[in-house]
Symmetry: D2
Subunit: 404 residues, 4 copies
């Protein structure tokens, strides 16, 4: 548990902060304006390409990819990546600039870890280069997907092809015009053992039968230009070689993906919360009501103090989880991963909500990032498993450990 | 404190529920679709006119207007109106069907109570008939409007006209194509005593110099087709007769408006929360995870039980506040009005948020009303004064009463 | 739902408040001193007898006993009794002065409702006259008594006697030297249907084999001179006629007892919370820190305001529960009774805890009643079923009602 | 921020745990029984001397004393001491066994740091050897001592003596028969600058005029045999050489004391909370209700999971605070010290309260340590400054840092 930043992290963090200050914060409003005024809101504004080129040149690229996959990425441990990911979390769209945005990061990890050579060549390489984007089709509208065994989409072998039928929603990324490939979770054998029924398969978005039905809203936000799609798979046929790892190994792949995925969201959310606190501190110092700056009100100071305490605690817990994942692997670290998934999104919701309250009407408006950030934090309390599932598992594990 | 429904209420409530069941719930999705697909999202879909005609015919019209203004409205007391308003709160846009939607209700009350005969003829009558809509321009972006003495918009006498300059935002209603008139709060005399500087004045929306700059977002929602506008008043000139009540009486008018306005929001929010609970009960009974319906999970039952307890308590507090307003007037009832304004929005936020969690992804989507309703509840924690202002006043009053 | 006080209540409340002001508050400290310095802390100080005589003379006696049992008690409905019970709640030991203290009230109700004539003559009469006190032996240390079917004490028929064996604890009242009789819940037939195994039986405390083992502490308080006893029943023999109502009807009796019992606790707790708020208001007005009275701090005002909101809501919910019990009976009112049992103790804990915080060290001391009152409120979150059991039942009922 | 345990800590922790397992846990009940049945409850049971001798022999002595004072203590940094202090926190009275109990630790630090050679010889040496105990007289009943400038006790020079007059309470330690010396905070010059009016002075408990008036209760507990005393100083005369450091330096001394003192309480509280969680895990695994162990209930698992998350976060925050104090000193670390003082006591209250709920009646009884531990945690929310004072300072500092 040495949380001091490594030299690598210190170096990258300095560069990243400088990059954010020079290229991202000054363009934040313009980016949102460009998206909003785009004839096609699902098209990423071209300024993004320019920023990506600059980020690559600055050595700020694929920071998320661990050292097993060097030289494809930066080769950082989870602990080393955490402060960088937090920093990117302060501007939600900035992840893409550094090729560190969900769900691509998870998809790239899956392909790096479990993909065949051919799959890597065709899909991992362009993803790592930031040439295309991707989606992950897991959640289904008809069943409680928090229990992944409920998933109903079928993946049936038919000769040297698989035929996919089902309905997915909240397939993040799939609305974007640059999204070319989906990883789809479904069942290859509904009669197999409970955790061996599922498989994951690559489905190019332009395959016949893949129908992007509509954009799903998440707490009032479409999250354009990336978005969350409802996708119907209607007798979709892909070559058998598109299957990842093998039949019945969908759960195994999901596990491998979820550890890092969960912690990346938590790191980002800490960045969100920290920025909300920073904004609140500035706001209350400027705003005057009833004859004095809000900053002089004891209740305001208490709010600010509580926000700090919450953030700082969640940050340390995230670092500990990252450290344990690095040292002991995702499986051994499962309790602390569950803990951070329970803590960070709720913390971010509370902190950002309080920042909104301190901002008054402006906090609810499009002029600050607060309400969009709150929407993100709120959805993460459900994404990758609702709080309740993680508490169920953590609680059960703790009781067993003590009782045994 | 007799909270039994009066015969009048019982009769209207039965009619109202039947109307909602027959005409509103079945058209809920269509209404939202029509708005979303309207070339001009600020135009109320024409189905609304048909519904309004039916509501008038059913005797469900201007239910909010108290008996002082009979026969213009239904002549109900606050206590009698509460259950009806709660019922309307279950479908946010339904208020307009019965000509009971904010900010028109507040504007109609102000004009009924304080308007000149000419003002009534010109603006109150068409509002009461549901022919036009209106806005209330109070909050300003540049100052903490929670302290109304901060307001900077100027209303200066110039001959037989007033000249208005300033910038308002979150002027609810002003985006709608049917909005014809604004009530604007500003300062006629910045050198007068603290609560006598302000006045309120009628400004037709088509007056030269009234610039609707943009639609403000509220927690991710534009709330089309009604909306919240940013409005710049640039040397806007209106006849002196447009001033309401007299110079320096803006605070007095605001007080008269705020009591009922606050409680109406609270009643609606109780309807929102009740519907969220009803939806959650149905959802958890249907959804299966980990081998059993969610309804069998002890934690789900605890959630449902807590939601019920919160709603029921806030409902009773609202009824008590309504009753005290009826019996003792808004001034004497100020503590209990403050209490309900503190309690109801927060309660609704918590209950709806929990319903979202129990719904999973669907709760965050456009397929349920939950996230839009949460956004409404959240903004009401700021509208008409943030929680903190009401707690400041209530706390101070309680201490003084005890200490004196 | 007419919560206005009846004339009977108004009259009694006026008398009660006058009595409290004249005889109780001025003697509060002395009472506690007498108890503390008594050679036998389980002996009620003799001042109590004088107070009881005065209360009887003032017509403030057996206020809890409903009209079915007139002229034995005051004949008040639950709704009429509520404000009186709240008032008594402000001084925890004051219930006994008016013969309205638990567990005697519950025992007297049980005997009034289900007792044989002989049982009434022998035990109910002296209880109603305040000559003796009684205990209720339900909870057992070895099993989770929240699920009453777990109870293991056996009540076996042997000729014309019953033989009782088992261990009870938190048998409130049984430490007091004036306690003469216990109502004991046990199993007469462990093979009967789940809710027909239990019976309730009268056991005089001086019966051979009844061993009062020790005084149980409740959150640090022994609650002398009444106390909570651990009692071992070692082959205790009582006449068969001591059985109440009949074999297998213990659950039925428990249900009859628990409705009023629960709501009386809630009423008292509202009195506790109200007094804590009143004390806090006075305290913050007097205490100076950092150059101004605490009352000027915005955070203090927010605390006070929140306390008021919580109390007022719980009070109204209690009144509604009382009203429903009066009108529809305890069975129909079960949801609202569950709700108030969930709400009131937790509310009281929160409010009193906040009052302690506002009092500083004094709030934790024996110089204020706050910490003793918090201990009482905290234990009531477990007594008569922990919160969780009531939430389980309420949640299940609500879901069923909605889903069916 | 390297939170890995040092070799020194690892070694001591192993020894400490073994000692606790062998000598403390098995004697826990006996210790409490001995205290309760002692004719004089303020006399430490003699078993303590035996345990202290064993602890000294095991090298587990004066673990709190930092390396500046080697070889008097173990020479551990705050970070190194934290896990040991946490471990001791699991049994509240165990601190004394290792000569690590408040308020002696604080008094020893003060004397080590600021005491004259004579003061050290007379008082520090016997304290370090565990031969006597001591008290710290700071809080006064008449003023809000959270604002230390309010303190009214006077320390007046009279020749070569100081004369002390005033009333203190919650002077922890002063009830114990082994308590020989008090450090008293008072004012030597009420006309000096605000933070230079105060001084600290050594007052032997047997000095004429020192009247221990009574034992104060803390949330229902007298905390015998140590206790919290109310002490009246009635023209108490001590030699001028008893003044510590110099006139007007009382605040400076208080600051030096409070940093470590606060964090020690927090470490102990984490131990308390961890033990409460461990106990709860065991309990819910054994207890059966409604047909299954409590451990199978989803709501129980959620409780357990939340407890873990809270503890783990507070622990990490405490370690960070300890680390910053070690590296940067108490002054630079003030924000994080404030944070941990805000977080840990509240966390412990919540966690222990939840453990009580999961234990049912047993949780409120003397048979578990839970309610006594909750009382300790609750009082620490007030001791060394109430939460509000720390939030005031932390909030202000954060706003200033951001705004400047």
């Amino acid at each position: 548990m040495n949380f001091d930043y490594s030299e690598k992290t210190l170096d990258l963090l300095e560069k990243l902060k400088a990059f954010m200050d020079e290229h991202v914060y000054p363009n934040e409003h313009e980016y949102h304006d460009l998206v909003a005024n785009n004839p096609n809101i699902w098209q990423t504004p071209s300024m993004m390409e320019a920023l990506k080129t600059k980020a690559k040149a600055a050595g700020l690229w694929n920071l998320f990819l661990p050292k097993e996959y060097l030289p494809l990425g930066a080769g950082l441990s989870n602990l080393e990546y955490a402060p960088l990911c937090e920093e990117m979390g302060k501007v939600l769209f900035s992840g893409e600039i550094f090729n560190c945005s969900a769900p691509d990061t998870g998809n790239m990890e899956v392909l790096s870890k479990y993909g065949s050579e051919a799959q890597k060549q065709e899909w991992l390489m362009p993803l790592l280069e930031g040439k295309i984007r991707s989606g992950f089709a897991m959640t289904e509208p008809e069943v409680a997907s928090s229990d992944a065994t409920n998933i109903e989409t079928s993946i049936e072998k038919d000769g040297d092809e698989y035929v996919i039928n089902g309905r997915k929603w909240y397939t993040s990324g799939a609305m974007n015009t640059n999204c070319k490939i989906l990883i789809v979770m479904g069942k290859t054998d509904p009669r197999a053992a409970r955790h061996e029924q599922q498989s994951q398969i690559l489905v190019p978005l332009d395959t016949k039968g893949v129908n992007v039905v509509r954009a799903m809203s998440a707490m009032g936000y479409l999250d354009e230009p990336i978005g969350h799609a409802e996708v119907v798979f209607d007798n979709v046929r892909v070559p058998a070689s598109n299957l990842i790892l093998g039949e019945g190994r969908g759960f195994e792949i999901a596990q491998g993906r979820l550890g890092p995925g969960r912690i990346h969201h938590c790191m980002r959310l800490i960045g969100c919360a920290q920025r909300a606190l920073d904004m609140a501190c500035e706001r209350v110092d400027q705003r005057v009501a009833f004859g004095q700056p809000l900053a002089k009100q004891q209740s305001v100071r208490e709010s600010i103090a509580k926000m700090y305490c919450k953030i700082e605690q969640a940050r340390l817990l995230t670092l500990k989880a990252a450290d344990h994942m690095d040292k002991y692997g995702n499986k051994v670290a499962k309790n602390i991963i569950a803990a951070i998934k329970i803590v960070a999104p709720k913390m971010a919701c509370e902190v950002i909500d309080e920042a909104i309250q301190l901002h008054g009407a402006a906090g609810t408006s499009q002029d600050t990032i607060l309400s969009a950030t709150l929407a993100y934090a709120r959805t993460i309390r459900l994404a990758d498993g609702p709080d309740q599932v993680h508490m169920m598992q953590l609680g059960r594990n703790l009781i067993q450990a003590k009782a045994s």
